[in-house]
């Protein structure tokens, strides 16, 4: 898929937002793809972590609105410990999640979870999952 880079979707303000929330500098990324190779969830992601890093470098949040990448991220830090540019990609993923969650949008609805699943899951699954996927 070709993603156009143009004045409508490039945003310096968005780059700054991502950097500020994550505490990282996405411009450091050299697009090597190590993060994608290290990611256990990559197969399930719409865009691989490398591509999300690329879009973040241009602040192209509008192209990332509907992708599942940062929602599928398990915060496993497998990418972060391997990035040759020292970027904590897990923090960039968290920033992208937070940019949505802070508009009071939930990614999952706890009330829709089957009661049976809730009774089986260990407590940390729910505490962690709700913290990552709900506002």
């Amino acid at each position: 898929m070709t993603l156009p880079i143009n004045a409508q979707n490039v945003s310096i303000v968005s780059i700054e937002k991502i950097n500020k929330l994550s505490g990282e500098n996405v411009k450091l990324c050299m697009q090597c793809g190590t993060c994608t190779a290290a990611c256990p969830m990559a197969e399930e992601m719409d865009f691989f972590p490398r591509k999300v890093m690329h879009l973040s470098q241009f602040g192209m949040l509008s192209l990332m609105n509907d992708i599942n990448t940062y929602w599928k991220c398990a915060s496993c830090h497998s990418c972060s410990v391997r990035c040759p540019r020292g970027i904590d990609i897990a923090k960039v993923m968290e920033a992208l999640r937070q940019l949505v969650l802070r508009t009071s949008k939930n990614y999952i609805e706890p009330s829709q979870m089957p009661a049976e699943q809730i009774s089986e899951l260990p407590q940390i699954a729910m505490v962690a999952g709700f913290r990552k996927l709900t506002s």
Binding site: L21, S75, Q117, L121, P122, A128
Partner: protein, 294 residues
């Protein structure tokens, strides 16, 4: 030296088998730890956004409680609690600006500067007892059980709080060997099990976990040892569904390493609560003629 023990939510409910086996083992080894009389949920995951300090209050409050009681070290068992508490501690030790804000926000508490050392139970065992002494105390060695340490994510990453460097599984390997098991290394010991994503996926859809099981099975591993209730759930309790969906072809039962330790130390098997593991785990132990009921 005073060591406080932080259990965390899951160990009091779904993962009693992790906690009770651990505490009974410490007793058998003659180690004293004192469970904190007041503690709260650590939050399970460390907040990763730079401006979000409020979610550090939970773990830091536990550290304050430990300091108040004069603890030198705070020991935890659950990998996620360990990670969250150790990272929050690191923050309070090194980030003077955020530390100041957090201390001022919690003005009803004593100030905290990262004085308490957060350690994992495995580190405690190595420091306070050592593998040789544990070996001497083993009464029922796990002879012929081929087991692999499974660390998952939070025991090792990020590196500044990891219980040991990436790629090294020395601590759990040392323990498992001391209790007589045959340790079989495999390439997925630090691969993610899918973590909290399980709340957003139908049962048995977790490829990350199925991949770990497959890697273990093809290495000839009979059982995985973990210290995380979420790993135990994702890997141990979903295998029937993985099998039904054709994602795995062989079962690899999952145990808490503390259950294996307690068993080898001759602790009453009822304390290990094997009924909370998947049935396959119990069947494996029975097939190996280990004592699973009193």
């Amino acid at each position: 030296m005073k060591i406080s023990y932080y259990p965390g939510c899951t160990l009091k409910l779904k993962a009693k088998n992790l906690e009770l086996a651990a505490l009974a083992s410490l007793q058998a080894l003659g180690i004293d730890v004192e469970e904190m009389d007041r503690w709260n949920c650590c939050g399970a995951v460390y907040s990763l956004t730079d401006d979000d300090l409020i979610h550090h209050i939970g773990p830091v409050r536990n550290l304050v409680r430990a300091k108040e009681r004069g603890a030198d070290k705070l020991v935890t068992l659950c990998s996620m609690c360990y990670n969250t508490l150790a990272r929050a501690n690191q923050l309070m030790k090194t980030d003077t600006v955020k530390r100041d804000t957090i201390n001022r926000f919690m003005d009803d508490e004593i100030d905290y500067f990262g004085e308490v050392e957060v350690i994992h139970y495995l580190t405690l065992l190595e420091e306070q007892v050592g593998w040789d002494k544990i070996k001497e105390k083993v009464t029922a060695p796990l002879t012929d059980l081929k087991v692999a340490p499974y660390y998952g994510c939070t025991l090792q990453r990020p590196q500044d709080v990891g219980i040991e460097p990436m790629g090294s599984f020395r601590l759990m390997t040392g323990l498992l060997e001391a209790i007589g098991a045959t340790v079989v290394p495999f390439n997925s010991a630090d691969k993610c099990c899918g973590s909290y994503q399980v709340i957003n996926a139908p049962a048995g859809d977790n490829d990350a976990a199925a991949n770990v099981i497959n890697a273990a099975a093809s290495a000839g591993i009979e059982a995985l040892a973990t210290s995380c209730p979420l790993c135990e759930y994702n890997l141990g309790k979903q295998q029937d569904q993985f099998m039904a969906k054709g994602k795995i072809t062989a079962n690899v039962p999952t145990f808490y390493f503390t259950q294996l330790l307690a068993m080898a130390l001759g602790v009453n098997p009822e304390v290990c609560h094997f009924e909370l593991n998947d049935m396959k785990a119990v069947q494996l132990l029975e097939a190996k003629k280990f004592q699973v009921a009193a």
